[in-house]
């Protein structure tokens, strides 16, 4: 098995990326491993992921499809596919309590109420046979025992708050009667209904057009400003991250390859994968020239290479990379990079 990330010696130092030790972060994922038993073998989807979120903060989780972003989020929410999914090790501390050790009924008290989630595909996340009004009102009725009348009134308030035009009239419409952007607003309304402390937004705008994306991101920022909740924004879009994130973790092959404050990553990426992603964005001064392209394809989680998962595609690769898996080296007070040669990457000396 691959060496798991990492014996970072620095858990005791104040660290905006991992949270300030001493004062517990709001949410801390710690050395999380998730695997799935499939007919083709064990899929090691998450291999030692750690990140922390403080109130009011936006943490972006960036990575290509299949890198383990959603599975990590599902583990936090406690909605992994049973029975295939297994968490062989790791902790998910929410205000100091390890959620993985809670009984299901205690977990259900947290889910949706204190940690809520917005999914990419609002159409399949909403129930097609109930009106949106009844689905929003249900949140209040089930979790707070609110009367039908009051719950409905609060649903209208919420729909107003997420700026669905004509909220009162649209209360009795069904999900399919709304546009993609409006459905995403409904999902956000349901997610913030109970004033959660953490909101996980999993590719909330990936299916939407840029103008609608701008509306939704503006709405999320506003909701966050008003409530002070922490937000985990999962995305593969380097533009969206640059727009809203305070800090960022970059995932590759079920691991974190880089974590940092957002400005640092864009100025001086410290992992060859992050650097390659940033270089491959078409920019105006490179028009007409060949784009930088990361060669090869993402790793096969059924058959992870020993050593560094990025090695087959890495321009910085040295001999030891294919045998020794790099830990997430602490490379600065607020940064980590899972690359043996992070110094060279930072210098830009080659690659």
């Amino acid at each position: 098995m691959n060496q798991s990330t990492p014996p970072i010696p620095a858990w005791g130092i104040p660290d905006p990326v991992r949270g300030v030790t001493g004062t517990e972060p709001l949410l801390a994922v710690d050395d999380l491993h998730v695997e799935f038993a499939t007919r083709r073998g064990t899929v090691k989807a998450v291999n030692g992921v750690s990140y922390a979120l403080n109130p009011g903060e936006t943490l972006a989780v960036l990575g290509e499809s299949g890198s383990g972003k959603s599975v990590t989020a599902q583990a936090i929410m406690g909605i992994l596919d049973a029975p295939q999914a297994r968490i062989p090790r790791g902790r998910i501390r929410f205000r100091g309590t390890d959620l993985l050790r809670l009984k299901e009924d205690a977990r259900a008290q947290v889910r949706g109420r204190r940690i809520a989630m917005v999914f990419q595909d609002a159409l399949s996340a909403l129930n097609p046979v109930f009106t949106v009004g009844s689905q929003i009102a249900e949140m209040f009725r089930v979790h707070q025992g609110t009367s039908r009348r009051d719950a409905e009134a609060r649903a209208v308030e919420l729909m107003d708050r997420v700026r669905i035009p004509g909220a009162r009239q649209r209360l009795h419409d069904y999900p399919h009667q709304f546009s993609g952007g409006m459905r995403q607003r409904i999902m956000i309304a349901m997610a913030i209904a109970l004033d959660p402390e953490v909101l996980i937004a999993d590719e909330p705008t990936t299916a939407l057009d840029v103008t609608v994306q701008a509306q939704i991101m503006e709405l999320l920022a506003e909701v966050q400003r008003d409530s002070g909740m922490g937000m985990i924004l999962i995305t593969h879009d380097l533009g969206v991250v640059a727009d809203v994130a305070d800090k960022i973790v970059v995932m590759y092959g079920g691991r974190i390859v880089e974590n940092a404050l957002v400005h640092d990553v864009y100025r001086t990426p410290a992992h060859p994968y992050t650097k390659g992603l940033l270089k491959s964005i078409p920019r105006v001064d490179r028009k007409g020239r060949e784009l930088y392209a990361i060669s090869g394809t993402p790793p096969n989680l059924l058959d992870m290479p020993p050593g560094c998962a990025f090695a087959p595609r890495c321009p910085y690769r040295q001999d030891n990379c294919t045998t020794e898996a790099p830990p997430l080296y602490r490379i600065g007070p607020t940064r980590g990079s899972a690359c043996h040669y992070w110094r060279e990457v930072l210098d830009g000396s080659h690659g």
């Binding site: 952007g181 701008a214 509306q215 503006e218 957002v262 491959s280 078409p282 784009l291």
Partner: protein
């Protein structure tokens, strides 16, 4: 690549209305969806025209009209000087004919013209038949146009095509599921090139791919254009990808082209309010100065193409709208103070895009 010579594709006043029906059993037509409503442009040899616009604005319908996969309600498409799809009266009932059907109903002469324009689809996961081998997929156009390649020569040609797009020629007997998304898109491109077209219509060719794979496919398309002198109609919603590959860019809104010009003109001197909103909404992959960026956030959704607003179709969301905008449709034309065409009564250059 810079365009040379004259137009290989001439599109004039192209219109496509779909019937809007109601009722599950007794369907009756209650209106029309104006998917494409009067679009004109030329494409020159070796040139790339990028098309941007939000979903539902008619980009894919335009692509199918160019390909002759949809029959236009009005207007014409000429490929290399020959009309391939003209309107036949108000033909609102006909739904998508198959490629074979179109090929069959037309004369051999017309088929030869049609070979000149081919298509690459968005989704590399659904656009390839999973039960066909890669060789059969790439060689299928020869079944429809048997005179394009003698039977005995097809296998060799298919292998050469695979090599051209960076795949292994020995892969002819493998199936699509054995390939990654980026490789499947290469298969789609190889197939699009089988008949040696002059024009390739690419409908969101990299949208379904991861960032690291997108760059590989964009580089491939650029190289093929250089080597083969292809002209592209390149449809995408990623504005930075479109800018990278396009010589000119057309912006669509609700079935209309609202602005058309050279890439630098559209991106640095947009004159139409919708283009300005679109560009300002695009996230910029650089956090520096994000607090100071100007963002025009449009309110609400685009109106339905079944009932577009009178006059200017953008007026229900436009912050500059005046009475005239409801009364008179602004035509796509040169406007004072700009060097490219825009369809706005009050067109005015306004730089919104930070140059990342």
């Amino acid at each position: 690549m810079a365009a040379t010579g004259d137009a290989v594709l001439e599109v004039r006043d192209l219109v496509k209305y779909f019937p809007l029906t109601e009722g599950a059993i007794f369907r009756r037509q209650v209106g029309v969806i104006k998917a494409v409503d009067g679009i004109s442009f030329d494409l020159r040899r070796g040139e790339t025209l990028g098309i941007v616009g939000e979903s539902g604005c008619g980009k894919s319908t335009l692509a199918k009209l160019l390909m002759g996969l949809e029959r236009p309600t009005g207007g014409s498409v000429r490929v290399c000087g020959r009309e391939i799809a003209g309107a036949r009266g108000a033909d609102l009932k006909r739904v998508r004919p198959t490629v074979r059907e179109i090929a069959d109903v037309k004369g051999a002469d017309l088929k030869r013209v049609r070979r000149n324009i081919q298509m690459v689809m968005q989704d590399p996961y659904t656009s390839l038949n999973p039960r066909m081998t890669v060789g059969d997929i790439v060689g299928e156009p020869y079944e429809i146009h048997p005179d394009a390649a003698p039977k005995g020569d097809r296998r060799r040609r298919v292998q050469a095509l695979l090599e051209l797009v960076g795949l292994n020629p020995d892969d002819v007997n493998r199936y699509p599921h054995q390939f990654s998304g980026g490789q499947r898109q290469r298969i789609g491109i190889a197939r699009g090139l089988a008949l040696q077209p002059q024009i390739l219509v690419c409908d969101e060719p990299v949208s379904a791919l991861d960032v690291s794979i997108q760059a590989q496919v964009i580089n491939l398309l650029a190289r093929l254009q250089r080597e083969l002198g292809l002209a592209y109609v390149f449809i995408a919603h990623d504005l930075s990808v479109v800018r990278h590959i396009s010589d000119r860019v057309g912006v669509m809104y609700l079935g209309k082209m609202v602005e058309l010009g050279r890439d630098a003109e559209i991106y640095s001197q947009p004159a139409h309010p919708y283009t300005q909103a679109l560009l300002s909404a695009a996230p910029v992959p650089d956090p520096d100065g994000r607090e100071r960026r100007e963002r025009i956030v449009l309110q609400g959704d685009p109106p339905s193409p079944a009932d577009p607003p009178s006059g200017c179709r953008f007026r229900t969301r436009c912050w500059k709208a005046q009475d005239i905008c409801a009364q008179q449709e602004p035509l796509l034309q040169l406007r004072p103070g700009t060097w490219h065409e825009s369809a706005c009564h009050f067109a005015q250059v306004h730089d919104v895009m930070p140059s990342f």
